[in-house]
Symmetry: C2
């Protein structure tokens, strides 16, 4: 029995781009998958050998069936297995005997909710591991390599192109293909249906696809990432060469329940995955109808220079305003044009045109579409312009205004393509006529200029081109995420430190802290309050008390004369309401008034490993939901991006003169927290909430630290 | 010269659905609008008389041109005027002489940015008013009544149907038609291009279209509403019979600049118009690609029972989860199914199906699509189910699985239509195959079941059906908005009241107020602080000081011994930094600690008239942007909806035991504020920020009142 090979890229390549295919469970019945699989290979133009196998023998589509897997030649690349779940382990062993590189297992019946499902799953994993056969699925709709015709998914007429699709859902594959066809998007390079991922998973797929230079974009749909940290590491490496666009399912409560019963996956909360996936360079889409169009555009168009902005070039004021609104809603800025640029545009377009960005040509192009290309050339010379977005009716002028414009529109498109290709400034076209597959639109699309009918989708694509440029342009300022940092916090082994202990730990690590004292007697408490000489908060210090306020363990606004009675009340209340709690004393901290309350947290996420959180803190944290996340360790740039993703971050760098703490200070603090979590492996969780600012100081007022035992 | 008629619905009907058309500026040149206008009437099947007019005479498309407007028969319904701006006043007068009901003015050149534009505009308005001729435009692309072929916009092949479109942008009309065609949405009833709205405007259009029973939905695109209050009044009446779907352009800063130069319009801020338009029953869309599909669906599908929820019936878990996510993102709840319903579904679908909502049939329907109709019938009997959303591949089973399913899918669609029509439970279908115009999908569409390819759009439509049901179901609990309440606050005439004066005014009106005292001397200030017996805030009282804190006019946390010095410091600082300010004294209020700060405001908006604002208050108001708006007077239900639109509203009715103020109390307070603004006509603006809660009390801490002089 051969020993398990380590993950071998060459072996995986044989599976994903097979030269020979076996069909185990071949059938003579046209309604069966074991019949259709032969047909779809043939109709897709697959030229390699196909070996149907059925113990009963048979004949279909010109091929005689082998009666045993043992009769296969040694070293077939991939086998599609169309037999029921119970037979899968035996079949896999037989396939391994004849050194088949990989198996695509269609059967369901491997769910973790049944005993038989769990047992079969374990068997399949064991065989894959020990016999060195790669398994795709089970419960997959198949895989496909379109250009070679290795169509093991049975969908006819998949258009060939540069986009790879990876998903757990066969239906989502159909959706992406249908959406792409409806919007005349670039075609498909390959499809990998991962199903239950007993062996092959998302991370390894991403890496394999990014290594293939014919893959220009990877569209991913997933429901939870079982190995999220591994995915972050793979994606942040793969994204350097290949854009990754991702749609997550199961982010809502009801969606989560659905994915649990569908694939046994549990998604990390939407805001967590949004933060860390963005960090890894993944373009997240939140609408399923964006996956195909964004991936298609990223596969063909250039990305934006991160130091430049977009210009809207419209043939109607109504559309121009809507495009500007969509830009604003999606957080994209408009380029401010040079005076020289405006002057040149004015000469081309005449008096009635609006020359500020958005540009409204106000009818000037209706009879002369070539003006759009001339304007685009002028705009491309402006150093502020990073992308040109043509909005309105372009391409359909010959339908709307005068059929004699047809040839001129075709020439205009050719000229726009030359401009896009010589300047590497992305050009996008939104047109009412985009649905119609017009020849001048096809010229644009072939030349790397996406053409879409929806203003909102078109702006969404522009945002993706902008974000891709931003990420690529700053990749040296980003953390290299390691798959190995996946140590998760096992809840049962965790230990809440008392607050004094937690504060000592953070101070030792050099992290800032609001002034405090530990009082172990009423007298010490009185002394501490008097020493601070301002009203203080007194909080019981006990590792046995998680919610101090709820059991009378906190007194606020205590002055010197009140400290003794406050001590007594706290002790009385805590001992009566939490009997047996070991009390170390009382923490004394000056009350600090602040207009703002932040929170900073750190924890080991079961999906994504070490994480840092930043946001609006205080009592309203669940109401405002103003938080952002990054995987740790994180860089200063990443910390700045975290801050920029929150609303509360806007009060830093000065807001009504109420704080002098800067974004840079806060970013440094977040980097330190990430470092602390990464180096102090015993820290399971850290909550600093609220954090206030006083002058130029960042002062955590409440500290909660949980360690692994 | 005939005297101006008052707005006459019969006259407007003649304009919008003309039986006879004159074309002023008719041309023999096929590239001219004056030629094309004849052609598009003929090709659209218009059967009424068409009268081309050109002083030089001429002949085109079988018609001899008249050489003078005076030669027209008396009482032609509408004239399309294709002559330059300067000639328009003369032409309008000539048309009025022969009692033409209305004129569609295509010319531009009426912008308010040029002297000639302003002069011409005034002339046109004067002629329209005094001579009783209705004017559409100028600067319009035209109007159309599709069924009668009265196509005065020149777009060929407009599909006929139940949706009317009203917009200032000819391009947006093209977009809506193109989007509708691409998604196989219902066709167009009529189009009104309003252009510069020198006479006919949005409000009157809405009323006229809603009065036409063949109009089943009105799609509106606008850039600012010049007469917003009038629109609210018209819309809230029209929406009782006819759904209104609206897209606003120019909501962003750049978009606003664009619309200003495009149509001279200024949009009210997005959050303001969102609140008041929703109040009026308008379905607002924020993406331009939603206007056609939402209007099309509202025109044909039933609205939802407001006491029920949606069920998702999916043929794939991946799609089901994405649909549930989209529901959550759009704020829609899923119905909780009865046990009996689940049991019946289980019998139909077998073991592997997921029977909680979302329902995943898990393959059971692949070979038997009729099961979907049977499941829908079971679901329709469940009293929790208000709408059924079928998600996945339905309609394309015969393409994906087995061509022999074609007829069964057609029968399934017929059965679904019967269900929708007999139960008035809306049914929606999302399908990957929706683009393809399949016969079973067309059966659904004709039967009032929208079929869309995008999950997100489909859920968006479901939300519109839900919101329409909610609005119609509660219309008796809504305020009747009057167009007459448009009195706007003229800034130059406004007067800031000192805070003591403002508080007196509100108290007289019976509105709640935090305790306060006016001290006119240091001694009175000391007495007041001692009487309250808690730390107090001292604020200068002066109508000449708008920003008290900025000039040292506020002292916080003042106790009895500090009151004298605080008085002195305030007086010294204010007199030195704001010399000549008339100081009435100092307002003394106890400092009230509160975990929450609200704001309530009231003002007379230049667009929408009297408005009430509610939201998160305090120093972070511009950061959190957590506010909602309604036109005043408002009802309790409307006040409750305002509260529900904010995040801070969630702390009412109990949040961590920190307040006992209820949503009902706050709603009553908002209703009172609306009433106060409506009855006290001298109040221009009112700001209560912050408002805190103490126990069950609503306590405004800071009061700012501006009156009209």
């Amino acid at each position: 029995m051969p020993v398990k090979k380590t993950a071998d890229p060459e072996q995986l390549k044989r599976v994903l781009q097979p030269g020979s295919v076996a069909i185990v469970g071949a059938s003579e019945d046209p309604s069966k998958r074991g019949y259709q699989a032969i047909g779809s290979l043939q109709s897709s133009g697959f030229t390699g050998p196909v070996y149907p196998v059925n113990p009963k023998g048979g004949f279909a589509k010109g091929l005689n069936f082998l009666t045993a897997i043992a009769d296969l030649p040694i070293g077939v690349d991939v086998a599609v297995i169309a037999v029921p779940a119970a037979a899968i382990p035996r079949v896999l062993n037989d396939l391994a005997d004849v050194e088949v590189a990989g198996a695509v297992v269609l059967a369901d019946g491997f769910t973790s909710t049944t005993e038989s499902g769990r047992r079969l799953s374990a068997e399949v994993q064991e065989i894959s591991r020990t016999r060195g056969i790669r398994v795709v699925g089970p419960n997959t709709s198949g895989i496909a390599h379109v250009a070679s015709g290795a169509n093991l998914v049975g969908l006819p007429d998949i258009p060939s192109g540069p986009v790879s699709i990876v998903t757990q859902s066969g239906n989502m594959f159909l959706s992406v293909v249908a959406d792409g066809q409806a919007s005349n998007a670039p075609g498909i390079h390959s499809y990998i249906g991962l199903g239950n991922q007993l062996d092959l998973g998302y991370a390894e797929c991403i890496s394999a696809l990014a290594a293939d230079p014919s893959v220009k974009a990877i569209a991913v749909h997933c429901e939870g990432l079982w190995h999220g940290r591994e995915f972050l590491a793979a994606a942040s490496h793969a994204a350097r060469s290949t854009p990754i666009v991702m749609l997550q399912g199961g982010l809502s409560t009801a969606g989560r329940q659905t994915t649990l019963s569908h694939t046994g996956s549990v998604s990390a909360p939407a805001d967590v995955s949004a933060g860390v996936l963005r960090q890894a360079g993944v373009e997240l889409v939140h609408r399923s109808d964006e996956l195909a169009v964004v991936a298609g555009a990223l596969a063909t168009a250039a990305h934006m220079n991160p130091n430049r902005q977009t210009v809207i070039l419209s043939d109607g004021g109504g559309h121009a305003a809507l495009a500007a609104d969509a830009m604003d809603m999606q957080g994209l800025a408009l380029a401010e044009l040079n005076t020289a640029t405006r002057d040149e545009l004015g000469e081309l377009l005449g008096q009635s045109a609006a020359l500020a960005n958005p540009i409204d040509v106000a009818g000037a192009t209706d009879a002369n579409p070539m003006l759009l290309a001339e304007c685009a050339e002028v705009l491309a010379k402006d150093p502020h312009v990073g992308a040109i977005h043509i909005i309105g009716l372009y391409g359909g002028y010959h339908l709307r205004f005068d059929s004699r414009l047809h040839d001129e529109e075709l020439r205009t498109s050719e000229r726009l393509v030359r401009l896009a290709q010589t300047t590497e400034i992305p050009i996008m076209v939104q047109s009412c006529y985009a649905h119609q597959g017009l020849d001048n639109h096809e010229t644009l699309r072939r030349g790397g200029i996406p053409v879409l009918s929806s203003i909102d989708q078109s702006v969404r694509v522009m945002r993706a081109l902008s974000q891709r440029g931003m990420w690529l342009g700053t990749r040296d300022e980003r953390s290299v995420l390691q798959a190995s940092s996946t140590t998760t916090n096992k809840e049962p082994d965790s230990l809440l430190l008392d607050e004094a202990h937690g504060r000592e730990l953070l101070s030792q690590a050099g992290l800032p802290m609001a002034p405090w004292a530990l009082a172990t007697s009423a007298a010490e408490a009185i002394d501490a309050v008097n020493a601070f000489d301002v009203p203080c908060a007194l909080k019981v210090v006990s590792a046995d008390v998680a919610h101090k306020s709820d059991i009378g363990g906190v007194k606020l606004h205590v002055n010197g004369s009140g400290a003794g009675p406050a001590w007594d009340e706290i002790m009385a209340s805590v001992t009566s309401r939490c009997p047996g709690a070991e009390i170390r004393g009382v923490l004394v901290t000056p009350v600090i008034r602040s207009s703002f309350e932040f929170l900073v947290g750190a924890r080991r996420d079961p999906t994504f490993g070490p994480l840092v959180t930043f946001g609006a803190g205080g009592v309203l944290v669940e109401i405002s939901k103003d938080v952002s996340f990054r995987a740790a360790p994180l860089t200063r740039r990443e910390a700045h991006e975290m801050i920029a993703e929150t609303a509360i971050g806007n009060v830093l760098d000065g807001y009504r003169g109420l704080t002098t703490v800067t974004k840079s200070q806060m970013a440094d603090f977040l980097v330190s927290i990430g470092q602390f979590l990464t180096t102090e492996s015993q820290i399971a969780e850290l909550d600093l909430n609220p954090i206030v600012t006083a002058g130029d100081k960042i002062l955590p007022l409440d500290v909660r630290v949980i360690t692994s035992r």
